[in-house]
Amino acid sequence: MFSPTVLSAIHIELQVELVFSLIIIAALSLFFIFAGKKVMAANPLEKPKGIVLVCETGIEMIYNYMKSIMPSQFEKSYYPYFSMLFLYLIVANLSGLIGFDAPTSNFSITLAITLITFVLIQFNAWKKKGTFHYIKELVWPPTNILGAVSPLISLSMRLFGNILSGTILMGLVYQFTGWLSGMILPVNFLGPILAPVLHAYFDVFAGCIQTLVFVTLSSILIAIEAE
């Protein structure tokens, strides 16, 4: 199908963010397999403690949040997806703090996550309207096609831009403090003084807020199409 020249032009490389993403997914899966075993073995009549308590509190928090923004027919079937999204995104956004390249600073990953939401939005619209009305409203007036594709771009770009800008600005700050302190000593002694405040803003604050915004927006978009 492809001529050899086209094949040789395709450049495949294993990006480092994808490896970190796989590591995060594996760690989360192992944790939840372990937690699931604990929950299965726990006695429901006793007070939960330790890891069981943490899981129950987290699940209840996300469930209540979903209940407050989605119509009732959705909360049961969709809250596992949103709790998965929430956990993965928050761990991925905060992983910049422990020396990972945050996986969400790679556009492939944010685009992949947004594609799942996009498919869910379109599927719910199709289920609600029926095939004929769905296609009719999608292509007429033709600007509706743009409206259907726009969540894909805006959601993925929002997450990607926020995390990437934090990463690049932190890189610039480290370069600047290195240059400034290089005038006095050959060690970057100003960096550790200035950087923690900015790390707290760009990594922790922006990461948590963007996780919340992504989950909220995708749930609202899914609910709006189906109403």
């Binding site: 929002r158 926020n162 963007q210 927006l217």
Partner: protein, 80 residues
């Protein structure tokens, strides 16, 4: 002027997207303060909504920042 100087000017202009965002975020915060003054019990809810709204409107500035990053880091490599 060299090519890189022009690209740097373009990157600076792209970040002007933050102008409107700053005004909008200020308006959102002032309205939130008014709302808390009127109804102090709802402070937690108002704070969450304000942060959500601010994060949403901040996106426009982030788009401008992305364009300027593209201009600074990707574009010079493309024109060689």
């Amino acid at each position: 002027m060299t090519d890189y100087g022009l690209i740097a000017i373009a990157a600076g202009i792209a970040v002007c997207a933050g102008l409107g965002t700053g005004i909008g975020e200020g308006i959102a915060a002032s309205k939130a303060v008014e709302a808390v003054g009127r109804n102090p019990e709802a402070e937690g809810k108002i704070r969450t909504m304000m942060i959500l709204g601010i994060a949403l409107s901040e996106t426009v500035a982030i788009y401008g920042l992305l364009i300027s990053f593209l201009l600074m880091f990707v574009f010079p490599g493309m024109i060689g």
